[in-house]
């Protein structure tokens, strides 16, 4: 075999090996996620033997009423909410970073979370319902309308002629400051009780999860996945720059707008249910990128799994750190996640953006 033949083989051989490694990594992440989900179900303020938990999961009606209610009605929605919210936020962040070509883009940094916080505070402090027909769901609906409205402002702004991706990120940061200022104003005006509620909401928490909220978030993720998968090659090509993607035949403007619209829903829905959980949407995609690169066929599932895994593991930690108490998950994600993220950045020798 000549030297030339060796180098001819090297490219595809290396590519196939890398693809296999990535596939195995995805499987490992799915395994870790399943484990984390199981531990999440098994832990809580009340201690039950693992065998009882498994028996209740497999056959709910053979368990005691108390055990069944705790596992199926309390822990299960929270554990599933962690998975779906983590997946939704991480996917939203991944695609925001992709279409805006900016490593800082996430639902949090573009002002969507801050807008949701302000919407919730409007309900908690002033009792203002942005959609008066559904007063029962005043807090999540207010949060959703504000979050979606903000995402749409960014969406329509990005359609204007001459608006660059840098301008969009700057607009997002300006929106964060605006909504934080408005939130501070509401907090200043709030009663002591309302203030406590606002502060708790903005910390982010999974404990108010219900089956309905889980279902709505899951549906958003399930609808988004095939839409993004169909565009996997085009979305990956965007990362080579607009000119290059266009030259490959990608309708860059159209793709960016469609993606922004789906991402808006993916970001607004979970935030309106669980409050501000800032870390996942930013870091989930970065960890996924470090592990599998930016080929969307691997990057998208890796981002979904990473987000779900981080939030699920954090949910477990929030119950274990102070036995008997459940700490707000938004606080834990940042406190535990940031050092973990830094260790990954410094351990990784390859450039990850």
């Amino acid at each position: 075999m000549t030297t030339n033949q060796i180098s001819v083989e090297a490219g595809s051989v290396h590519y196939k090996a890398r693809s296999l490694r990535r596939f195995l990594l995805l499987l490992a992440m799915a395994g870790a996620l399943f484990l984390s989900f199981a531990i999440d179900l098994a832990t809580g303020p009340a201690n039950y033997p693992l065998s009882d938990v498994i028996a209740t999961l497999l056959d709910p009606w053979s368990a005691t009423d108390q055990l069944r209610v705790v596992i199926w009605d309390i822990r299960m929605p929270v554990a599933l909410m962690a998975l779906t919210v983590g997946a939704a936020l991480s996917t939203a962040g991944a695609q925001m970073q992709t279409i805006l070509a900016n490593p800082l883009a996430s639902p949090f940094t573009l002002g969507i979370s801050a807008a949701a916080g302000f919407g919730a505070a409007l309900a908690l402090v002033l009792g203002v319902a942005l959609l008066p027909a559904f007063v029962d769901f005043i807090i999540p609906l207010n949060a959703f309308i504000m979050a979606m409205g903000t995402a749409l402002i960014i969406h329509f702004f990005s359609r204007l002629r001459g608006v660059t991706v840098e301008t969009i990120v700057l607009l997002g940061i300006a929106l964060v400051f605006t909504f934080n200022a408005l939130l501070a104003l509401l907090q200043y005006l709030a009663s002591e009780q309302a203030l406590a509620a606002v502060v708790f909401w903005t910390m982010g928490s999974l404990v108010k999860a219900t089956w309905t909220k889980v279902a709505v978030t899951a549906v958003a993720v399930i609808i988004a996945i095939p839409l993004f998968t169909r565009q996997a090659w085009a979305l990956t090509a965007l990362r080579l720059g607009d000119a290059k993607a266009e030259s490959f035949g990608v309708n860059v403007q159209g793709l960016r707008l469609r993606t922004m619209l789906i991402v808006s829903l993916l970001a607004a829905i979970p935030v309106s249910f669980v409050g501000t959980i800032g870390f996942i949407g930013l870091v989930g995609p970065h960890i996924a990128r470090m592990l599998v690169g930016e080929d969307q066929r691997f990057f998208l599932p890796a981002s979904i799994l990473c987000g779900a895994l981080i939030l699920s593991a954090t949910s477990v930690l929030s119950k274990l750190l102070i036995p008997g108490a459940i700490l707000p998950i938004g606080v834990i994600t940042a406190l535990v996640g940031v050092p973990f993220f830094f260790s990954l950045i410094f351990a990784s020798r390859r450039k990850s953006w």
């Binding site: 030339n4 490219g11 595809s12 290396h14 090509a237 990362r239 690169g293 930016e294």
Partner: protein, 274 residues
């Protein structure tokens, strides 16, 4: 078999008409056409219009050829990328746009072949961010060739390459044009390379085509003066090849005398003259 004829082609950038009234004779397959002209003459805009990436008037006539998304491929100027993608993945991306997520064995074999032909097989596993400007340009050429274009519009494909690689790439592109019987248009600044490697030249100034024909007819002292604002002439060198001898910018009276144009020097001279 594809042919290319432009008829009254124009395009705007915002409100500015950057290309207008470009009409060419029929360009035959198997030929390499140099598209020459100073910076901002409208070469890239013309390419984008021909490739369908920019709107505008006129007709791009492909003869009897039924066109698809890969018939006309445009290779933009290099801009670099921060993407966490390997060279190999970036070439797959170019090949797979609009098709299934699965990459077949024959597609991999084709990519291997192209990388080997460009002598960048050893870069396959490298991340794009780790490449030099010249290496990126070779990868861009691979990304274009993998789409099997019938008409290839290359925007300054040799600008970041060293002399050896410039000549290698131009010679390679000439072989590709002849071997695959395709039409190659190359925007190029080095007129000596145009004379040496291209069959014909199209000169552009201020968005208008000012000359089209065999390189030795188009590239002469009039073109140097009118399009590039430099004084010079073309003579045959010791190998019998046409070669440009420059006297300097045409608006300078005491310019340098009889400076032989080195590779890429002319572009610098033209720039300095503006």
């Amino acid at each position: 078999m594809v042919t290319l004829r432009l008829e009254d082609i124009g395009t705007r950038y915002g409100k500015v008409q950057v290309v207008s009234g470009v009409t060419t004779p029929t360009i035959q397959p198997g030929t390499v056409t140099a598209v020459i002209g100073p910076n901002a003459a409208g070469k890239s805009s013309l390419f984008r219009r021909v490739a369908g990436l920019a709107q505008g008037g006129g007709v791009v006539d492909l003869g009897s050829h039924q066109s698809d998304r890969n018939t006309i491929c445009y290779m933009p100027q290099d801009t670099g990328s921060t993407a966490v993608l390997s060279v190999y993945e970036s070439v797959i991306l170019a090949a797979k746009q609009g098709s299934s997520l699965r990459v077949r064995a024959e597609e991999l074999a084709r990519i291997d072949e192209i990388l080997a032909a460009l002598r960048i097989g050893d870069l396959a596993g490298r991340n794009l961010g780790e490449l030099s400007g010249g290496q990126r340009q070779l990868v861009a050429i691979a990304q274009t060739l993998v789409r099997d274009p019938k008409i290839l519009l290359m925007d300054e494909p040799t600008s970041a390459l060293d002399l050896h690689r410039q000549m290698e790439v131009l010679s390679f592109m000439r072989d590709v044009a002849k071997g695959q019987n395709i039409i190659v248009l190359i925007a190029i600044h080095d007129l000596n390379h145009a004379l040496q490697y291209c069959d014909q030249a199209m000169a552009i100034r201020d968005g208008r085509m000012v000359a089209f024909g065999p390189c030795s007819d188009v590239i002469d002292s009039d073109l140097l003066r009118d399009v590039y604002q430099v004084d010079g002439h073309v003579e045959l060198n010791s190998l019998g090849h046409p070669h440009i001898v420059l006297r300097g910018p045409s608006d300078e009276t005491n310019s340098r005398h009889n400076t032989a144009v080195g590779h890429n020097d002319l572009a610098d001279t033209a720039l300095a003259a503006q």
